[in-house]
Symmetry: C2
Subunit: 209 residues, 2 copies
Amino acid sequence: MVGYVKGRIRREDILSAAVAVYGEVGYHGASLREIAKRVGITHAGLLYYFPSKEALLAAVLERRDAADAERERLLGNPGLEVLRSFVALTAHNAQDRGIVDIYSRLAAEAVSPGHPAHDYFKRHYRDARACLVESFQVLARCGQLRDGVDAGQAAVMFIALMDGLQVQWLTNPAEVDMVASVRGFLEYVLAVPLDAEPVTGPAQSTVRS
Amino acid sequence: MVGYVKGRIRREDILSAAVAVYGEVGYHGASLREIAKRVGITHAGLLYYFPSKEALLAAVLERRDAADAERERLLGNPGLEVLRSFVALTAHNAQDRGIVDIYSRLAAEAVSPGHPAHDYFKRHYRDARACLVESFQVLARCGQLRDGVDAGQAAVMFIALMDGLQVQWLTNPAEVDMVASVRGFLEYVLAVPLDAEPVTGPAQSTVRS
């Protein structure tokens, strides 16, 4: 039992050290030896938990996925609630430079199909897009989206904005307000304030009959 | 004379090989030995042109700066002309995956103040922002910017959008249209079509007196 708990703590320590090292030198520049050194264990000791560099990266991304899933459970209903949760996520990220750094670097490294995190990011973008398209479509049906705004295009733009803000903010932290920019974008595309009450049914059905 | 020309060609070859290797393994993962091998010269031969890894990166960025300066000369007047030139730049980038890849990776790597390209990207963002703020301010004075759009915030958002689109496009090329998204954003913030004629003087002065 004690051994099991110690093993879990050691595993978490390795994952946290990996995130730190990726953030400093990128995934490709990171060596298992350096990560083992940070945790204060031998290279062989690390291989007991993670048999390869790819296995360690997969575990780092899985841990992030688990945190995301937990957060998504709290996302709320498609529409204004989901958009507000993205603003909250941005505010959360603005408190954690380390996570934003590793995410931005990995996303940029993983664009090539040969990278071990490529499929993860491909799926990650598709999931985020599907979630946002649904929300913008719901808002359009309720008359809460500005005329002329396309749900699919707004979703791609919103994700791009959030990603691009991260790199710009990491580079010049004092000059970029990520939360204000994300809110600003939503003000451009919404026909109602972000904090408005969600409409319970499609606007058309209230108008008809 | 022949030696001089050969030296310039060799120098250009090394810079191009460096861009290729950075694109594959990142700046931190790139070794001078690997770059020399690509050009078909020895490590010592490469050191004759570029005495260190940092010197080579500086030369790669200087070459990019020179190309940017040439392009900026063609940017046109602050206002719609400048915005149209950013759309044209996006269309140009969409034809050159390699350049977009290396730029995205380097920008994400260089967020930490210790990175040799950090000052370059800090300046790069400031220059782009200053150029865009000026254009949005000119448009606001001419009544060509939508009410409620802040020039400074729109500039940060526009740069973030362009950067974020690149990573998303590199990851899922068939699902992201960079040019359409950049145009779409400008439609959100402009009160006139992007292809409208620029107003010659401030709109207020025609209204007054």
